[in-house]
Amino acid sequence: MRMSKIVRFAADVLFGAIVIFGLYVIMHGHLTPGGGFQGGAIVATGAALVIVAHSYEEVIGMIKKAVLMAQESAGLVMFAGVALIAIGLGTTFFFNFLANSGSLFGMTVPFGPNPGELNTGGVLPLMNIAVGIEVWGGLAIVILYMLSGIGKKEEA
């Protein structure tokens, strides 16, 4: 069952918007509802949309299995690595060594009612980014393997 040209074109157009919204949810994880898992799931929904709309050969050309697996591993390594850097600095595992330091994500949280400052939170945004990359790869690869199971023997 090949999807119509309208469906394929709409999926290609919507893919960019969905990815941008998912990355927004990941980046604002420490300020607004959502975070690494939710944002990664939203981005994976965009990948699932492209996989559902196109045929097997087109998807294999567009989305590489190795890239998604590397993404999954890179997210896990980054998550554990950021937590291990804290031990290297002489503090405890998962210690928030970037908070209030003035460097990356190190601004002090402003006092009183405010719309939220993106440059705060210390290692929390880094952890959100790591989880987001990992969930993106993991959930997209589930859908991709589902498509591989179908293979080329689709019903006309």
Binding site: G34, A41, A48, I143, E154, E155
Partner: protein
């Protein structure tokens, strides 16, 4: 007052979409109705002030589960046959 009206509308939509999933013989339409059910239940989570759960439900329930159903329908038959 307006909150109660929205609540009743969402719950009615949940029941209607659940009945539609049972009713359709076209399995693609049934999968889309199941996605509508997930979307409405994520709206219900948002009304009950759990936006985190609502985002997860919308992404996984309405997005990825429907995608898996559609892929399964693509590899098999689209229309349900009458039971013998």
């Amino acid at each position: 007052m307006i909150e109660t009206i929205i609540h009743v509308l969402v719950l009615t939509g949940l029941i209607v979409s659940a009945v539609l999933v049972y009713h359709f013989k076209d399995l693609l339409a049934a999968a889309v109705a199941s996605g509508l059910f997930s979307f409405l239940i994520s709206l219900e989570f948002y009304i009950l002030q759990a936006p985190d759960v609502a985002i997860s439900q919308a992404a996984i329930g309405a997005g990825l589960t429907t995608a898996i159903f559609i892929l399964a329908i693509r590899s098999t038959k689209r229309y349900e046959e009458d039971a013998p």
